[in-house]
């Protein structure tokens, strides 16, 4: 039996009260609920306050470059598809610096769970606008207020037929843990966008602000594979912000398309010397 204790307890570099703590707790709970041991889990992360997360629980870790959590996660999943691969990233990391990888990883559909700490601000660099910052938010850089339209990650993912699209809230840990659990169980790319208050730099989207607006969708009122209805639902933002699973489309994962993985993990394949010599004969 795996327990929460197996995932350890570490000192963090996060500000007291940060929404990241809730996400860390929910992730540990989800992994324990699924009975995954730390050594079966690989977390690939980018750069940002979110991406420090794998340092604060026991797991295999590839803490790479800013914006680049998804490509190494994909590579690792292909190399050893027996691993539970989770990409931990943030709104700046995933929707800004790594936006291109987000689009193409959705197309590729590897069996990876993406947890996006979406705090609508840049925390690590101390308070600049992020791709999801609201119009009008003032920062030292956006002194006249943000005027670029915010990116809607859920709408974008649904429009590209991402196979699992959901939203959680760092202030609702049991609900978030359940979402992450579903995301990990889903075969294919799972997006878990997490509303995460930044207590130091985002004075607009606070715990209070979110708590007054978010609500759990018990039943979204449509079939989860209804892309148009899911897209419509994903546009709901403002006074009321829905949480839960918006869209699910079961389809073959990237690894399922790769016949060479049928016999076992890729990294165990041996070099075929005789077959290479046969190819060489073709050039003689």
């Amino acid at each position: 039996m795996v327990s929460i204790e197996d995932y350890g307890n570490f000192e963090t570099a996060w500000c007291p009260g940060c929404g990241n703590f809730g996400i860390l707790k929910a992730l540990k709970q989800a992994l324990v609920n699924l009975g995954r041991s730390p050594h079966e889990v690989l977390i690939a992360s980018g750069i940002g306050q979110s991406s420090k997360l794998p340092h604060y629980l026991k797991c295999n870790t590839f803490n790479g470059l800013h914006g680049r959590s998804l490509p190494p996660a994909t590579g690792a999943k292909v190399a050893n598809h027996e691993l539970t691969v989770i990409a931990v990233t943030g709104d700046g990391d995933c929707y800004g610096e790594g936006g291109n990888h987000f689009l193409h990883t959705v197309r590729r559909n590897p069996d990876i769970t993406m947890i996006v700490h979406d705090n609508q601000i840049y925390g690590l660099t101390k308070g600049q606008a992020s791709p999801t910052s609201e119009v009008g938010m003032r920062t030292k850089i956006q002194a006249h207020g943000v005027f670029n339209m915010p990116l809607n990650p859920l709408s974008l993912a649904i429009s590209m037929d991402c196979s699992f699209v959901s939203r959680g809230y760092a202030g609702n840990i049991p609900h978030l843990a359940k979402l992450i659990e579903k995301g990990i169980q889903h075969k294919g790319l799972s997006l878990v966008d997490v509303l995460q208050p930044c207590v130091s730099f985002n004075k607009l989207n606070t715990f209070k602000w979110y708590s007054e607006r978010v609500y759990e969708m018990e039943d979204p009122g449509y079939e989860l594979n209804d892309r148009v209805r899911a897209f419509e639902k994903s546009l709901e933002w403002g006074d009321r912000i829905p949480l839960g699973v918006f869209y699910v489309n079961e389809k073959p994962s990237f690894e399922e398309h790769l016949d060479v993985l049928a016999t076992g993990p890729l990294y165990r394949n041996a070099a075929k010397t005789d077959a290479v010599n046969e190819l060489i004969d073709g050039f003689v």
């Binding site: 041991s37 730390p38 050594h39 079966e40 690989l42 690939a44 750069i47 420090k52 794998p54 340092h55 026991k58 797991c59 295999n60 870790t61 590839f62 803490n63 790479g64 470059l65 680049r68 998804l70 490509p71 190494p72 996660a73 994909t74 590579g75 690792a76 999943k77 292909v78 190399a79 050893n80 027996e82 691993l83 291109n100 990888h101 689009l103 193409h104 590729r108 790769l258 016949d259 060479v260 993985l261 016999t263 993990p265 890729l266 990294y267 394949n269 041996a270 070099a271 075929k272 010397t273 005789d274 077959a275 290479v276 010599n277 190819l279 060489i280 050039f283 003689v284």
Partner: protein, 604 residues
């Protein structure tokens, strides 16, 4: 025109055979050689025609060397496929053309001046030949193709038959090659191609009975020799090394390697993924490598620029990766289909910070094969990125070389076994400090241990650590691997008389031209040798200084405008060259170009 041409040929044959004797006595010609050039627009089937002829000539027992010159377009433009043959090994191109197969009129306009005493084979019914050109053998390729095969697409095969006939070769060789080439397209296609070749052959035999000017006797097939280009050789090397994952973004002139591996991926248990960009490509490779797969990426300078940050990630996370970098002239888009060695200093210094990397630069197809295989072992042993530097010239040129043997390739993964991991009896630390700097490597998921890699400076366990003392330890650990590898790097190879008064040096793809320059100048009684560098970085400094200590005058020959290798040699080994011979017009060196430059610089 026909009569006139016949007369010219007769005189030519007489004169040339006399000249050959004189040249041979003077040592100017060391072997029988011939240059064929096929010119045409993109989309005219140049590639297939060239390949079939090159294979046929190789099958007939000649050493074949072939280069391609093409523009960045899928249709139109002017492209050439050049084939040099000899009865002894050839590794470079020469400028003169003996037989030009012109598929368009531009071929004649552009290359007539290269012909000297050579001849043109063309279909005057199809292409506009301006003025009277005596040396043209008109072959009605289109008409014959229609008459014999009922389809104009066979006109290239008619032209091939004509060329084989004019070279006085037997039809057997080309027929074998055609059978193999068109096997997949079915018996009908094979038969029609053979019919077309025979018809072209018969046409020249009948109409130009004296046209057999080159009189190449079939030397008989040379055994166990391959005809292969640099890119395919790299692809084969990767397969021999057991590559498991390749992620790349297509970019000329590197794409051939990606294509070759993809073509064979299913049979070899390899996953090839076309990434959304080069940033993703190298980052995917690093993720796959971290999780245990032997991984590589392929690119050219533009893509490599995008990979720079991930190159540093490989460095600090100590993740093995093989990067195939086929250079083309930059900056930016530059000359996309041409050649240059302009990225050496960039490859040496790309990415912020300091970390160990290895740079290999094969000079022949054989070296492409074995050094690619070796690159994987170096990457795994030292847990570093290894860059294999090629260029358009090496990538696309066809070499005749001894058969590779994959049995000579050892696959050395340098991974902890489950048993070793269990017997450690301590918590696994990915970056454990060792006297030699290399930490024993386990894979995530293996033996219940946790493997932690971090792009931040980290401690032995892999977690972020910003302490100055730790930084020094970790930096020294990584850089120590470079010194360990330096001891293993073989020194450059010397060709020719060790005591020669002039030493030519070069790296990578200039090997062939350099060797031929040494042969030609030596035969003229000049005292010249050459030293060719394949293992560039980390340079075995002491051995290199020793090797070059005898050199009286050093001239560095390289395909760039600033003498990058000379500067590198000065910086790393303190060796100064006397002169540089540089070329940066997008074309590779020919021996003649180098000799002219040496004369101009009054080195010889």
């Amino acid at each position: 025109m026909r009569v006139q041409a016949g007369l010219v040929i007769l005189i030519y044959v007489f004169v040339i055979s006399y000249l050959h004797k004189v040249w041979e006595q003077k040592g100017i010609i060391m072997n029988i050689g011939l240059n064929l050039k096929i010119g045409g627009a993109a989309g005219q089937g140049l590639q297939t025609t060239g390949m079939v002829l090159a294979k046929t000539l190789k099958k007939s027992g000649f050493h074949v060397f072939s280069t391609q010159y093409y523009l960045s377009r899928v249709r139109g433009g002017h492209n050439t496929f050049q084939i040099r043959i000899s009865d002894s090994p050839v590794l470079a191109m020469t400028e003169n053309v003996d037989l030009l197969l012109a598929l368009d009129s531009e071929s004649i306009e552009q290359h007539l001046s290269e012909l000297g005493d050579g001849v043109v084979v063309a279909d005057a019914d199809v292409i506009d030949i301006k003025g009277s050109v005596d040396s043209i053998f008109h072959v009605p390729m289109l008409k014959i193709a229609r008459d014999v095969c009922g389809d104009r697409i066979y006109s290239n095969s008619v032209s091939m038959g004509a060329v084989v006939g004019l070279l006085c070769l037997e039809l057997r060789g080309i027929e074998q090659v055609l059978k193999k080439t068109f096997k997949k397209k079915g018996d009908e296609v094979v038969k029609k191609n053979i019919d077309a070749v025979r018809a072209g052959y018969a046409y020249v035999k009948e109409n130009y009975p004296g046209g057999c000017k080159f009189s190449l006797a079939d030397p008989g097939e040379i055994e166990d020799m391959m005809l292969i280009n640099g890119n395919d050789a790299v692809g084969l090397g990767a397969l021999a090394a057991g590559v498991q994952f390749l992620a790349a973004y297509p970019m000329t002139p590197s794409t051939g390697v990606m294509t070759y591996v993809a073509t064979n991926a299913d049979n070899f248990g390899v996953v090839v993924e076309q990434a959304e960009d080069e940033i993703a490509a190298l980052n995917m490779v690093l993720g796959a490598s971290f999780a245990g797969a032997r991984s590589m990426t392929t690119t050219s300078g533009g893509g490599f620029s995008l990979m720079a940050e991930a190159l540093g990630l490989a460095g600090i996370t100590e993740t093995p990766a093989v990067i195939f970098l086929a250079q083309r002239p930059g900056p930016a888009t530059g000359l996309p289909t041409m050649t240059e060695q302009g990225d050496l200093l960039f490859a040496l210094h790309a990415a912020q910070g300091e970390f160990p990397r290895c740079i290999l630069a094969p000079g022949t197809a054989e070296e492409c094969f074995y050094m690619t295989a070796d690159a994987f072992n170096i990457a795994d042993e030292y847990q570093i990125p290894v860059i294999i530097m090629s260029d358009q010239y090496l990538a696309d040129s066809l070499f005749t070389c001894p058969r590779f043997d994959a049995s000579n390739v050892e696959v050395e993964r340098h991974l902890l076994s489950d048993q070793e991991l269990r017997s450690k009896g301590e918590e696994y630390r990915r970056y454990k400090l060792t006297p030699w700097g290399i930490s024993p490597r386990a894979l995530p998921g293996q033996g219940g241990v946790l493997v932690v890699a971090d792009s931040d400076e980290h401690d032995e366990s892999g977690h972020i650590n910003e302490e100055p003392e730790n930084r020094i330890k970790m930096n020294d650990k990584r850089m120590n691997k470079l010194e360990m590898l330096r001891k293993e790097m073989p020194v450059a190879k010397l060709y020719g008389n060790p005591d020669a008064s002039l030493t030519l040096i070069g790296w990578g793809s200039v090997y062939g031209p350099l060797v031929e320059v040494v042969d030609i100048l030596s035969s003229q009684g000049k005292s010249v040798n050459c030293i060719h560098f394949t293992h560039i970085h980390p340079l075995p400094v002491e051995a290199t200084i020793k090797l070059l200590s005898k050199a009286q005058k050093i001239v560095c020959v390289e395909n760039n405008s600033t003498g990058q290798f000379s500067r590198f040699l000065k910086a790393d080994a303190g060796i100064s060259v006397t002169e540089n011979v540089l070329r940066y017009d997008g074309k590779p060196f020919s021996p003649g170009y180098v000799i002219d430059a040496l004369k101009k610089k009054e080195v010889i």
